[in-house]
Symmetry: D2
Subunit: 372 residues, 4 copies
């Protein structure tokens, strides 16, 4: 078993500026310059821990290349690609589309490298070079729709990789599991009518985008039923996530039978994230990874590829990422999550009845998929 | 109506080092240097917004002085005060007691200034110099017990101020409302057996300290019933908080009849806080403030004094603080919380049934206080 | 004797972005995002030391107001003012003119407040409200010419104040001493043909702007001889500066006989500055201040007003500023420059022969002024 | 020709805390917390540019291992090694010896890894695995003496590597060229009486350590004449450095005839450094490298190994390092130093007469070496 690991220093150079968390600085609005929630640090620190812990020596390094326009346009309208390219040439760069998603001069090239990184990692898995892979890419992608970027995302990295596998005949039937705490709306939109791609998004109910990711969003046409959403209530913890993966995600994967499982891996459901209110822990992510690995082993020779999405705690994301990489690679570094005793002790870590209700409804969708 | 505002540049100089959020950096444990969650920024940025927005011109500036040993020792054991003083003289300073609460060389003087600031603000209210006051002090205080500091707190600032009012005959009957998201264990411990001080803590259930702040912690001896705890579930929002203040806090204040209301004002129940999972908004804090002002007006000529406690979102705490200060002073700056459209849209902002159950139980305690 | 001190929180909000020191981030050019040399920190930290040291209590606080368009246009072309206003309305702001001088959305308002701050401080001195004053304003101003901003400067703050004094009849004969390490080209250009304004710039030879500030730049027309430049060699220390002030600056002031002395006070000639190579110390600036105060006492009832210009060492600028403010106010805080033992020991702090040659030439210009 | 490049993520984890540049934070002394001049950023950013520019693909990656106690004690007293180990076990770590050189908990392990990195890089060159190598290690080493750390240095990395080559019979005759702007006092002290090791230090006169590195420090006993110091005046630029290398360093190397040339490569003589006052540029360092490569080619099959020392400009050090690595490897990335047009234009970049005087004296020492 080999695990691919993809990182490039330029991912730390994506420039989200001095925004006050989400908004451009603006004295009249009381917005003092600060830094964007989506800054380099959570990602560079995760990469640094992978190196410092020695785990890197047990991984297969993968090097990204830029996605071509043709590759990007398998998902995105040409006009979107072109607009990003043009704004990227401006001295101060531009915004991916919603005013919350700034990028600097040259941001196009970094975004194309992130999408290309997802392609490289997916191909490494499909080709058998590695059993599974983690693409630590930036900017993230899962909110970017065919028409526009949004939610800090420019191009829909994972979707570009999936379409690439399909277009090049490397895979046709693909499952996407999105555990980022926000709704994977961009991925879902891309494959809304594609019955060959199952998208499952486990997210906090109605956080971002607004009014997106409800249970009744289920795909259309021939693809009806191939989009599954699990909008967990705020305050959900490890117990709820394990229940979702046991009763919804894994059954849906089993029912769907993919050739590869792609994971949109945001760590913003963690107990320390500033942009959501869930209580996941590094060990919780480890367990979710193991559940997905079991399913992938059963279904598709273990083929699993994760793209990094959100996650905004510079202190905690590295430990979440390390736990996932330890699980993927089967190598233990010996480093224990120092936050675990604190976060695991939070009241409500076990499954709560009001959470189970939502999961019941999603489980029925997974069941339905099996029946179809 | 005049509102006092207390700040000192030295509060921004309290040095919590390069901790990885909570823990000292430690390569063997995977802890890369970063900054402590309790760093200067949330507080200096709140102060900067108060100035930049022009609100400062509508407030009465108050200047802190250091609390004396005698004043500190009305709450704390002499040994604790002495230990802090000694560690403060070390080149790298020391820790308040639990290994999570570092301070730098000279930290004693800043901590004494914070406690003295609470005294000054409380006296300004009791003397009628101002109707109410906000002490933007640092380090925080509500976790510090008579015996030790903990939870980033060195001295129990608010408790020192309360004891000072009692000792100097400026007030005897005092109510403490703690809306910091963590349990106000230090304040509660200080007044555990004092029937003249009502302590109400509204916090996220079992976050910090561990196993502290349960409903059945209610004071002892003659003070039985004068400690009220409201341990809200993770994911509670504005609706839950308004319900708590309407059905628990205000009735308890009415029942107790204080001469002054002291508020331990942490903004870590906000929807963007990394150290807890609640969903309060700036406007939510504004409403809580108004409810307390109404009660204080009814009960004690509006006498209300707030000490700053936690709150770890540098982007959002300034807006929470501004909203509270606008309410206290009755002056509107015209600055609207830019995060409000996002945070107010989170699912679950309205009161949820599983939250109401906890509040029902706490409301019964408030009722009991009225009956006693 | 009273000393005015002008600061506003918004000066810390001027947003120079994530530039790599001087240049916008740019992956293709190897420019990783960082922060601009001209960021808030040197100024906010100086202000914080003024407060933390207690010196603030011995100063008269002055509050800025925005300069009006009319006031700005006494120095600047309307087109420049208009361009800044327009770029300031853009979501990401703009640049003052040379691509090295970014500002954020709303930057116009902060720049106008800085220029207005210089006016307020100058008026406080002329009116006798205070004897002297220090305007800790940002962005800086001395590089801004009538036509354009440059060198981090948007509007020529000091020049706007000088023109205001003239236009309102508060003063007509004004001397400007610029000890910022870069050439005060904007101020010089503004008064190039005005015989009523003496400009003296003491700077490192040919650092910024390129090819500016040579000895032979001396003013034109009726104002010939009223511009004096002292381009010191790299590596000049306290000895050279004292010699310049003793043999050039003070004699020129004596010869000119101003009604007020305005000082463009950059601390980038300090021994720790990243943007120049001189070796001044806090105590050196103190001595220069005393020499200017002596001259001002002799010539114009002590009227002296300083505007803050450059200075890019966040560690050292606060100590330089404190020393100057101690001298201006006559109040000693007791805080000693901790860097002094190090910087004073640098070889070459005393006047060197190759430095004396330049000073000789400049002294001749001062002499000539006396003769004219 | 192959060039080795040694880096480890842990070098970015060496924790120098929240010092105010040089001194521990201290409110009574006016020292607000900030960051140490010797923080991770200059080094991590240089490494990031090496990766982002693609140069890394043309280098041979070398992995460090910790130096053993035996290896460290070839240079250092056992008591020094033991003291560092003991202070490293303290929760807040300790200081290398002079109060200016803090390290965090676990700092011993990082310091041992830096020294071991120098060993690995030196062995890679001597073994012929690579022709030359750059060890981007941290903390720096050249100030650490046998008895103690100082000047941000804990162990004398380069000296440990040199002694290792000697002790293991890999090399006996070694030349050390130190272009860090401060005196290489630790290296000099280590080899003061060793005629087999030539040490040449080119530094700014009397900056650090105080009263160290004068022309008349020349080695003792059998080693008299094998220590050469070139204390350049403040304000020296590229012209002075080229003259030093042409007239002093290269002739001395030729006279000495080393088996390998070790370079203590600090980039704090750069025109943007806050801790010294020289005006070197990236292209200047490139030229010095080429001069050393020519000499090494002539004398010892090109064997050259550089250890990273000081350099405190996060904006500029990466470009200096890239230029040196381009020269060492013979691969051009195409990235041009964006600061070059500015820094090259500074007056005084060409050799000045008062600089030439010092260089003349040093050249005489090199001549003497040839004669001996
Ligand atoms: Zn997300
Ligand atoms: Zn708290
Ligand atoms: Zn300047
Ligand atoms: Zn150095």
């Amino acid at each position: 078993m080999a695990t691919g690991y993809l990182w490039h220093e330029l991912f730390g150079w994506h420039d989200t500026g001095t925004n006050t968390g989400l908004f451009g600085s603006n004295p009249a609005a009381g917005l003092q310059p600060l830094q964007h929630f989506e800054n380099a640090e959570t990602k560079t620190r995760m990469n640094s821990l992978v190196g410092a812990s020695g785990l890197l020596e047990h991984l297969v390094p993968l090097a990204p290349r830029p996605a071509t326009d043709e590759e990007l346009q398998r998902v995105h309208r040409a006009a979107h690609v072109q607009r990003i390219r043009e704004e990227s040439a401006l001295p101060k760069g531009g915004d991916a589309g919603d005013g919350l998603s700034p990028f600097g001069h040259g941001g196009f090239e970094i975004a194309a490298l992130a999408a290309g990184g997802a392609i490289v990692a997916a191909e490494a898995v499909m080709s058998g070079q590695v059993t599974n892979a983690y693409a630590l890419i930036r900017p993230p992608g899962h909110h970017a729709t065919p028409e526009t970027g949004m939610g800090f995302c420019i191009f829909s990295n994972l979707a570009v990789a999936a379409r690439h596998l399909q277009a090049t005949g490397q895979a046709s039937r693909i499952a996407v599991v999105d555990w980022d705490v926000h709704h994977g709306n961009g991925t879902q939109a891309t494959f809304w009518e594609d019955p060959e791609v199952l998208t499952i998004s486990v997210h906090q109910d109605n956080v971002f985008p607004p009014d997106s990711g409800a249970l009744d969003e289920q795909g259309a046409g021939a693809a009806a039923g191939t989009a599954i959403n699990v909008p967990l209530p705020a305050g959900s913890g490890v117990g709820a996530y394990l229940d979702v993966f046991t009763r919804v995600v894994v059954p849906a994967l089993d029912a769907f039978g993919p050739e590869i499982v792609l994971v949109a891996s945001g760590f913003d459901a963690s107990a320390a994230d500033p942009l959501a209110r869930q209580m996941m822990t590094a060990n919780g992510y480890r367990q979710l990874t193991e559940l997905l690995m079991d399913a992938a082993n059963r279904l598709c020779d273990g083929r699993l590829m994760m793209t990094h999405e959100g996650g905004y705690s510079p202190a905690y994301v590295p430990f979440c990422g390390l736990a996932v990489l330890e699980a993927l690679s089967g190598h233990q570094t010996g480093i224990e999550d120092p936050f675990d005793p604190i976060f695991s002790g939070f009241a409500g870590q076990e499954l709560q009845p009001h959470q189970a209700e939502v999961i019941d409804a999603a489980a029925a969708l997974a069941q339905q998929l099996a029946t179809d």
